[in-house]
Amino acid sequence: MKVLVPIKRVIDANVQVRVKSDQTGVELTNVKMAMNPFCEIAVEQAVRLKEAGIASEVIVVSAGPAQAQETLRTGLAMGADRGIHIQSDEDLQPLAIAKLLKAVVANEDPGLVILGKQAIDGDNNQTGQMLSALLGWSQGAFISAMEKDGDLLKITREVDGGLQKVSVKLPSVLTVDLRLNEPRYASLPNIMKAKKKPIDATSPADLGVEVAPRVKTLKVTEPPARAAGVIVGSVAELVDKLKNEAKVI
């Protein structure tokens, strides 16, 4: 079974993001970029499936500008077998990416697609779900555990208020949550091998997908600074404030 892992290049999670002065987006010049942390977890999971003999090949795919190749190389250095770069300088939105991935799935015929539950830039949390709908495949979002059981995958989902255990039929689209695994560091031998692993180049046009944005960003601003909190004297006072001031209960 081939496993396809879509990965995204985003601002490094340790960087403090700043809004551009013209409010058209966030500052990207001289900013350290890295693989989206949830995508790292997805790659790790796929590589573990290969090490366990369940996956036959791990393919990483990234849509974006030329620099997305660096992110693909990182995936290869973590142990993926080959990469696909969908070259595009467009503002790629979740539906466009889901359609591109659908086209890649048609070419590659994987048994499983594993994605991060969201990318830490847009925090959209949409691509995996959209892909599953477009493919008509089962989906398991926010997974924190998985185990193969014949044609089924037993997965644990992190849902509001607890953990939900379900089985999904293969082929399937999974999106991974933080607690699924701890991604490995790229190893030195794999870093050296990564260059020799192939990265195929393609484009939205090659894949026959229209990617023009459907949502327009009007303005990007910093979230308002949080007002100072207050320390309440008792539970009764807290309940009173929640009821009468915050009006949330």
Partner: protein, 386 residues
């Protein structure tokens, strides 16, 4: 001219940076307060580095190491240099000189060192022979197939934890064009050898997380099989394999300075006095400008020297310049950063005072700044007969 990194180099940098931030930084405060790295932390870090295949990245592939070239290794050293030396040393880079091992020495010393099973230390310095290391008094006399060693080494880093010491000993005198000089031989000496004692050294204000020791040799008998290279070739071995050690100090200085500087910039942007960020005062912002310029200059000097080594070009002067400038730069950057932090910079609650203390040793060991200047000026004047 190509100033960019290859994708491999970028990945090495990113991976090591990530490792340093996640696996080393969190232990720094405890190491500093305890004065040593707790053994379970050492074991954990060492195992992770072995699993990543990064252990002994400096040793050529033919010996079973990672085989990184000088430029990539310098980038790696730069990233490791960000963290406390007590912790970064566990990211094992066995002494390159072990590549000179022959015969049984390979299985006994080189391979275990590469596998992280044996730890080495290097002993050159003596109480009466520091910069002028060739004036060393520790000596060995031949007795059949054995050598009997007497003398004292001091300031020996990590000797207390080492399984064996790489020790330079005088084994006679020879005539050279510049007068009689001691013949120096390099011995591999196991820690439990009779007549070899490892004693506590001094308390060092830089790098509090590990120790230096005093090595005492009292009629210590070792066989000729313990000689690395040949009798009398100790300095040739050292020149072949240890030349680049000074460059790692330069690389460390660049990485440490960058970490310190990033904190200075952030503080200057956040700290407000007189109604504005202190970075808005030229008295502070020009400091930042000078620091950024010096860090970059040191980085180019260091990578330039590494590049020359990779090209097989003579690099002695370049390495001396990089070591001199980068370590002096680190002294200035840590001092000015402390100044920008004001009183808080001196408090142990922040790492700035540690960077400032730690910086001091870099101008002294692996050849003092004066000795680096001596190497540079000798290269200028000797060809003119002066």
């Amino acid at each position: 001219m190509e100033f960019g990194l290859t994708q491999e180099q970028q990945m090495v940098v990113d991976t090591v940076r990530d490792f340093v931030e996640k696996e080393l930084y969190p232990h720094e405060a405890i190491v500093e307060s305890k004065g040593h790295v707790p053994p379970e932390i050492t074991r954990d870090i060492r195992q992770k580095v072995l699993d990543m295949g990064f252990y002994a990245a400096n040793i050529p592939e033919e010996f079973g190491g990672g085989g990184l070239d000088h430029v990539t290794m310098t980038l790696l050293e730069r990233e490791l240099g960000r963290a406390s030396q007590a912790l970064s040393v566990i990211f094992g880079r066995p002494s390159n000189i072990l590549c000179g091992c022959k015969g049984e020495q390979v299985e006994k010393y080189l391979k275990p060192a590469i596998r992280g099973e044996k730890i080495d230390c290097i002993a050159l310095t003596e109480p009466d022979a520091g910069s002028d290391v060739r004036s060393m008094k520790a000596s060995a006399i031949k007795d059949g197939d054995d050598w009997i060693i007497n003398g004292t080494k001091h300031f020996i880093t990590h000797a207390d934890e080492a399984d064996f010491a790489i020790v330079f000993i005088a084994t006679g005198e020879e005539q050279t064009p510049r007068g009689p000089k001691k013949r120096i031989t390099c011995f591999l000496i196991d820690r439990d050898t009779a007549g070899f004692e490892i004693r506590d050294g001094y308390q060092c204000v830089s790098h509090r997380g590990y120790n230096n020791s005093i090595l005492n040799f009292d009629n210590c008998r070792v066989s000729s099989a313990q000689i690395l290279g040949e009798e009398g070739t100790g300095f040739d071995e050292a020149n072949t394999w240890l030349g680049a050690t000074r460059l790692t100090v330069a690389a460390l200085a660049v990485g440490r300075a960058q970490r310190c500087f990033d904190m200075a910039v952030e503080w200057a942007a956040e700290r407000k006095q007189f109604g504005q960020a202190i970075g808005k005062f030229q008295g502070v912002s020009f400091k930042l400008a000078d620091m950024a310029t010096e860090i970059q200059a040191a980085e180019y000097l260091t990578l330039g020297a590494a590049w020359k080594l990779d090209q097989g070009l003579p690099a002695d002067q370049d390495i001396a310049m990089a070591k001199l400038y980068a370590t002096e730069m680190l002294g200035r950057v840590t001092d000015e950063t402390l100044q920008i932090f004001g009183g808080m910079g001196l408090m142990t609650e922040l790492p700035i005072e540690r960077f400032w203390r730690d910086a001091r040793v870099e101008r002294i060991w692996d050849g003092t700044s004066e000795i680096q200047r001596h190497i540079i000026s000798r290269g200028l004047l000797r060809p003119l007969g002066a």
